[in-house]
């Protein structure tokens, strides 16, 4: 296991420099005017960044309001009877709610829970797995669709939420199975 982790860690360190040198060298071999072409392509970068702004403002402000209001405490109380049915400790609910909304928020929740319950407790392991296997769905949605001006998202949102729920249920089931 450790050697696999080491291998992936090394790979992720050298991947970008290697890719850069490979693209540039391959371009030169194929007689591409690399500098000119690079600049030509890079011009678009500014427009993409600016195009995302309205989508990201809309999404992050809504998430910000939700986070600052203390609504999560109430949601946790309301949903806790349901979570007991699937072997999910109520303490991990804030993580499940926060994970798709905000990366920094979820990290805060995880750190807080690990501080109170310990990293090697069942709850600590469960939030770790949720954090590691989840993704900030709504942020990705706003950035990716925003960059090409998509406002009618069709089935991307329901499918994304189904995937999130599957990931969370799987995290709970696996941690209960392996560590309980």
């Amino acid at each position: 296991m450790d050697s696999i982790i080491n291998f992936i860690e090394i790979l992720s360190v050298i991947a970008i420099p290697l890719l850069v040198i490979f693209i540039v060298t391959y371009g030169t071999i194929k007689k591409v005017k690399i500098y000119e072409v690079f600049v030509e392509g890079a011009k678009e970068g500014f427009n993409v960044g600016v195009r995302i702004i309205p989508y990201l403002v809309a999404m992050l402000v809504a998430i910000g309001i939700f986070r600052a209001s203390g609504a999560m405490d109430i949601l946790t109380i309301i949903l806790s009877p349901l979570t007991n049915l699937i072997g999910m400790p109520a303490e991990t609910l804030p993580m499940a709610i926060m994970r798709p909304l905000s990366g920094s928020g979820a990290l805060g929740v995880m750190t807080e829970i690990i501080k109170t319950h310990g990293a090697d407790s069942l709850i600590g392991r469960m939030v770790s797995v949720m954090m590691g296997s989840g993704e900030t769905t709504f942020y990705v949605l706003a950035v990716y669709f925003g960059s090409v001006g998509i406002t009618r998202t069709r089935h991307a949102v329901p499918a994304g939420i189904i995937a999130d729920i599957a990931g969370i249920l799987m995290s709970i089931w696996l941690v209960n199975l392996l560590f309980k």
Partner: protein, 326 residues
């Protein structure tokens, strides 16, 4: 659907904030106007009181007094650094500097008083003019609508700024990858990458020609995601979206391929969650990497379920119609 989620976040957020605040007012959670008995600790008590001059000192509130006032338990007496400015011989403005020993409720009060949340303001009343610094009365500036203030300052204003900071921050790395991708495109490298995974990509994105630059960018984005290279993954993903949009017949509406690609991205395909492992290690976990197995299984299952869901949902009439009608 996004419309409803957006509305729900805003509505639930603001209504909850109003509810909390009304409850706090009714239960007087912050004890507005309460006189807290405290002691002033000053190393040289023989000084002349001058008006409009700042004095640095510490203020002490005993454990029992704090618990009597607020009705919440704390572990020991509070001693906090503060400055004071005398109004007259018997009263002064006080500014308390909060630190890691300060009670949680004071931080909340502080945030409601000021935006930065590091100091707490109020007034001090002395029993007799000057000299005696024990048994003074501390009255903190009253606060109301703590949650609504927090929604405005930490929700709306702060996040609007963060959104712009993120977008602007993306420009540099975005330009870099768009430039490199242009080279890779001109040299034919993208086509080679695209064709390398043809058996898989044809199934996932049947509407996209198998040597289209979008496929190459998507393969590179997913590879970067697997390795956890966030700096490369987002620009490559946005490049892929741009290419997919060139195949879009109805601008502003997501195509099937876009939805599939998005779900692969939102379901997280990263193999090693480095941040999680680092936090676990820093929190004294005996085996910080023991979560790796479950993480990889959970994330794979969520990606597979996501792809199945996106494929099944795309067949629904509601979503088909959005693609065709105008």
């Amino acid at each position: 659907m996004l419309n409803y989620i957006w509305l729900a976040l805003i509505l639930v957020g603001i209504l909850t904030a109003i509810g909390w605040d009304l409850y706090d007012i009714k239960s007087d959670k912050y004890r507005n106007g309460a006189e807290i008995k405290s002691d002033v600790i000053y190393d040289n008590s023989n000084f002349l009181v001058e008006k409009n001059k700042r004095y640095n000192f510490s203020i002490k509130v005993s454990k029992s007094e704090f618990e009597r006032i607020y009705g919440v338990k704390i572990s020991k007496d509070l001693i906090q650094k503060a400055t004071l400015i005398f109004i007259d011989n018997k009263s002064a403005y006080i500014e308390i500097y909060l630190d890691s020993t300060s009670p949680h409720i004071w931080f909340e009060q502080s945030r409601a008083q000021k935006v930065d949340g590091s100091t707490l303001q109020g007034k001090l009343y002395f029993q007799e003019a000057m000299g005696t610094f024990s048994d003074v009365k501390l009255v903190l500036n009253s606060v109301k609508f703590v949650k609504l203030n927090s929604v405005t300052n930490e929700g709306i204003v702060k996040y609007a700024r963060i959104a712009v900071e993120i977008s602007i921050g993306l420009i540099g790395i975005m330009s870099l990858w768009l430039g490199l991708m242009k080279i890779a495109e001109s040299s034919g490298l993208i086509k080679i990458i695209a064709k390398s995974l043809k058996p898989i990509t044809v199934k996932l994105f049947p509407d996209v020609p198998d040597d289209h630059p979008a496929i190459g960018a998507m393969v590179m984005n997913i590879s970067a995601n697997i390795l956890g290279l966030a700096n490369a993954a987002t620009p490559l993903g946005l490049k892929a979206m741009e290419e997919l949009n060139k195949l879009n017949k109805k601008l502003g509406t997501a195509t099937d391929a876009m939805c599939t690609f998005l779900v692969i991205n939102t379901s997280n395909v990263q193999l090693i969650p480095a941040t999680v492992i680092a936090i676990r290690a820093a929190s004294g976990s005996v085996n910080p990497t023991e979560i790796l197995g479950p993480v990889i299984v959970a994330t794979s299952v969520s990606t597979i379920i996501g792809i199945i869901a996106v494929k099944l949902l795309s067949k629904l009439k509601v979503f088909r119609k959005q693609l065709e009608g105008n």
